[in-house]
Amino acid sequence: MMKTQGNVFKYQDNVDTDVIIPARYLNTPDANELALHCMEDIDKEFVKNVSVGDIIVAGQNFGCGSSREHAPLVIKTCGVGCVIAKSFARIFYRNAINIGLPILECPDCVDEISANDELFVDFDTGIIKNITSNKEYLAQPFPDFIQNIIKSGGLLASIGKDND
């Protein structure tokens, strides 16, 4: 159901939610307005250069810090098709699943992927294909419970289903 193909934006360990979306902009819940500032404190060019389907690849503890759901929301609103990291901070992980931003943990592949590589990601199978280097990786699968939330289109949609 969910596949994405695009270019890689590569970041280091501990990308925090303050750099994903600085709190000085959090005086609005409007995702489109917030998305204009996505990543701006560590990558001023990101918003200019990102295209629908592109992929963020990062190191350990992606999304650490604040619980602001605005962080996965702006990444999703910018059109990013998937975030791949060695590990995710737990609130970001939870928020991404809840709002339907595809994320994958793949500690092995991150160091072998470079900025601007072209990737193909099949979110259902966890297969990550680096078209530029012609290498293939398998991300860790989600537990069924979480797969259900993702397949329903997020937490609230999945709760709605349970009630039906």
Binding site: P22, D41, I42, S67, E69, N95
Partner: protein, 420 residues
């Protein structure tokens, strides 16, 4: 197999006799919390999902604390949306300007959260209430919306790291130095997805304010929650304060921990986390060459009465150094009032500091003390990420109220020598 204190509370809230690490559960919630930044997003989700009522009007807390009194028109709209939602659903724990405080200082003070609770809050520092013997963790706005509607949340039962404390703190240190030391030891993801359970004879020397501060910052080590066992200090704090009957849980004797970290409190020294991660810790006196432009004493980490007292001890009859702006923010109206009654407010003004009504303001770079390019601040807050308090090229050093207040009067990062 024995359960940790956290696992005991989670088991009780999902109706199971026992749970084990890694298990996915659906747990009943005692309190669902949000603030003026995260609640508007939750309200949007609540409405989009066509939820029409909250699960319990007395079990939801909405606190306007990040950008109030409203810093601009957009912030005013966010507060208004929280106010309208709270009125429409008759939320009994809605805290507006005049009654509000910084959420994680306010809810324990007002007895809204108590021992044995299972709490989610759309704010990462919701982990603070572990100090009272509760399971409490930060989530996002969608979880808040689901929690407000159903009174339930899903969790993966965490494994735990035991932090064994012995001895007692030197008089120039506080809970802040303990948690900064721990984060320096294990790193910003050293407890990722796990509980940090604090035990040992050393805890009896830690006040409730110290414990609240320590649990507040466990998220900066990636932890799901931090928790202290129940003792006389907990009971004395909760007595006459909790609006619901507290329930006291304790870890099983044979509870399983991933590892144990031993900390001798008597060996703790004044600790500072350097830019741009809370794990970059150094002894304060190694940083005496660092000149500062601003000092912030406050936040959900260190805006409590004992923090104000620490600042008073140092600032009373002293002067803030030339070229330094010192901003003091008592975390709740009650704490602010105490500062006035005890004469501390006057002492702060006489020293050359400014005192604000409660707000998260500068901690997250919202307002009330934003840094310009190249400026440095020593703050009792909890994060020193790039751009956290203003310009991406400004710097934040995290420290205790003692160290921050001493630095305010010298203009450089300076250790407090302690009681003589």
């Amino acid at each position: 197999m024995g359960m940790t204190m956290t696992q005991k509370i989670l088991a009780a809230h999902c109706g199971l006799e026992s749970v084990s690490a890694g298990q996915l559960i659906n747990a009943r919630l005692d309190i669902v919390l949000g603030n003026d930044i995260t609640t508007p997003v939750a309200i949007n989700e609540f409405n989009k999902a066509n939820f029409d009522k909250v699960f319990d009007k007395d079990r939801i807390a909405i606190v306007l604390d990040h950008f109030v009194p409203n810093k601009d028109i957009k912030a005013a709209e966010q507060s208004k949306s929280c106010r309208e939602f709270s009125n429409a659903h008759e939320i009994s724990h809605f805290y507006d300007v005049g009654k509000m405080g910084i959420e994680h200082a306010l809810l324990p003070e007002q007895g809204v959260v108590t021992a044995g609770d299972c709490i989610i809050g759309a704010d990462s520092h919701t982990c603070t209430y572990g100090a009272l013997g509760a399971f409490s963790t930060g989530v996002g706005s969608t979880d808040m919306a689901a929690g407000m509607s159903s009174g339930m949340a899903w969790f993966k039962v965490p494994s735990a790291i035991k932090v064994n404390l012995v001895g007692s703190l030197p008089s120039n240190c506080s809970g802040k130095d303990v948690i900064l030391t721990l984060i320096g030891m294990i790193g910003v993801d050293g407890a990722l997805y796990k509980s940090l359970e604090f035990v040992g004879e050393g805890i009896k020397s830690l006040s409730m304010d110290d414990r609240l501060c320590i649990c507040n910052m466990v998220i900066e080590a990636g932890a799901k929650n931090g928790i202290f066992p129940i003792d006389e200090i907990t009971r004395a704090y909760l007595d006459g304060r909790s609006e619901r009957e507290p329930i006291f849980y304790e870890a099983d004797k044979d509870a399983v921990y991933e590892k144990t970290i031993d900390i001798d409190l008597s060996k703790i020294f004044p600790t500072v986390a350097c830019p741009h991660l809370p794990e970059n810790t150094r002894r304060a006196n190694e940083l005496s060459h660092i000149k500062i432009d601003q000092v912030v004493i406050g936040s959900c980490t260190n805006g409590r009465l004992s923090d104000m007292e620490a600042a008073y001890k140092i600032l009373n009859k002293n002067k803030i150094a030339d070229g330094v702006r010192c901003i003091i923010i008592p975390a709740t109206m009650q704490i602010l009032r105490e500062c006035v009654t005890r004469g501390w407010y006057t002492a702060f003004i006489d020293a050359g500091a400014v005192v604000s009504t409660p707000t998260c303001g500068p901690c997250l770079g919202g307002y009330m003390g934003i840094l310009a390019k190249g400026e440095r601040c020593i703050a009792t807050t909890n994060r020193n990420f790039v751009g956290r308090m203003g310009h991406p090229e400004s710097e934040v050093y995290l420290a205790s109220p003692y160290t921050a207040a001493m630095s305010a009067i010298t203009g450089y990062i300076t250790e407090y020598e302690g009681d003589k």
